[in-house]
Amino acid sequence: MAQTIPTPESSLGKPLRATAGSLESNDIFIALAPGEPGGNEITLESIVMKQFGPAILRVIEESLAEHDLTGVTVTAQDKGALDCTIRARMEAAIRRYKEARS
């Protein structure tokens, strides 16, 4: 009998992971997945990590707070996105994440 391999899918078959953005220049790719309850874990890669890493993290944290989302892991790959782009991609990813879980 085949063993069931855990995948990031809900019992309804909807993906629990949600993504938004791209790896194009001036954009940021955001992936959200379920994490430990009560907090958020953020992993960031950026081409401007030295100069803007803390500021990007702050925008991501603010977006999560604004949309009242906790218990997720955020993986972000930044290609030089402006703040308003980061906020837009976070909002899109969060909406998709909530939609997938609803």
């Binding site: 938004a20 953005g21 001036n26 954009d27 402006l82 308003c84 837009a88 899109a92």
Partner: protein
């Protein structure tokens, strides 16, 4: 308001393009949520465009958002986000009747009321790209006081007609002149279809010059490479500008002195001549004529 010679389409889901909107030389930018955005990215694009409108808005140029057509499941969500950003205009694709235009304007106004007073009212541009749209051109142009202009969309139209699209554009001459006539009769702006052959800059020069010759007020473009040629085609030459300035000077002097009739270089300066001079100056940005001032719906 600056005269819109060139209106540049840019993909609504491309943050780099949206950020550069003010630096590409076009008189207006069209943030596109329709053809340039994949169905699966419509949600993300409208959020990005809303943020670009509020935080990256280019200064000194017009800002237009093309939403999705009324026969799609996207347009109402587009309006819900885009109105928050307050573009100057919303461009309605595949407008086929005056009811289409009025339906969209009502939806925009409803969102404007919901989001609060103090906003500059958003005006509508319609894109005529179907046979029905062209045949209803004047009715659409006169549909509502908030309708500021109409654009021809030749790609979808020629597809529907089964016509071959060519660089010379003979197949769209009727649609072009029909749209111009309807716009002039209704007192709204007429905007030409983009030249679709991106690398054919020689063909573009001819197409843009012909477009201006026909009487279009401006032309949409799909590549930043096309902006300069279109701006040139819709900018009056210096000789015309000098003539127009002289006409206006003579007309003003005659008015101040209470003279009923004056002439310049043997030509009687009457109202049609003055209006032509004003049009030339407005196209050069010397006597700006806004869509509002131009619209004969008062």
């Amino acid at each position: 308001m600056k005269h819109y010679r060139s209106l540049l389409f840019m993909p609504g889901n491309n943050p780099g393009m949206l950020a550069s909107a003010g630096a590409l030389g076009a008189d207006a930018a069209i943030f596109d949520l329709e053809d340039a955005v994949a169905r699966t990215e419509k949600d993300a694009a409208r959020i990005l465009v809303r943020n670009a409108l509020t935080e990256l808005r280019p200064e000194g140029i017009g800002v237009v958002v093309r939403i999705n057509a009324l026969d799609t499941p996207f347009w109402q969500d587009d309006i819900a986000e885009v109105v928050k950003g307050g573009p100057d205009f919303i461009l309605q694709p595949k407008c086929t009747s005056p009811e289409d235009a009025r339906t969209l304007i009502a939806a925009i106004e409803e969102r404007e009321r919901e989001y609060g007073a103090g906003r500059k009212p958003i005006r509508l541009l319609t894109l005529l790209e179907t046979a029905a749209g062209i045949e209803n051109a004047f009715a659409i142009a006169s549909a509502h006081p908030k309708l500021a202009g109409m654009q021809l969309g030749a790609e979808d139209l020629t597809l529907e007609l089964g016509a071959k699209r060519t660089p010379g554009g003979e197949e769209i001459l009727y649609a072009r002149t029909r749209l111009i006539m309807a716009c002039k009769a209704a007192g709204v702006k007429s905007l030409d279809t983009p030249y679709p052959y991106v690398t054919d800059l020689e063909g573009l020069e001819k197409d843009a010059a012909f477009s201006a010759q026909l009487g279009f007020d401006g032309k949409t473009v799909i590549s930043p490479q096309h902006v300069a040629a279109v701006n040139r085609a819709f900018t009056p030459p210096e000789e015309q500008l000098r003539w127009a300035r002289r006409v206006m000077a003579v007309a003003r002097k005659a008015e101040e002195e209470g003279k009923g009739a004056v002439s310049l270089d043997g030509m009687m300066i009457d109202l049609p001549i003055i209006k032509r001079a004003q049009l030339i100056l407005s196209r050069a940005g010397e006597a700006p004529v806004s869509f509002t001032e131009d619209t004969a719906h008062a």
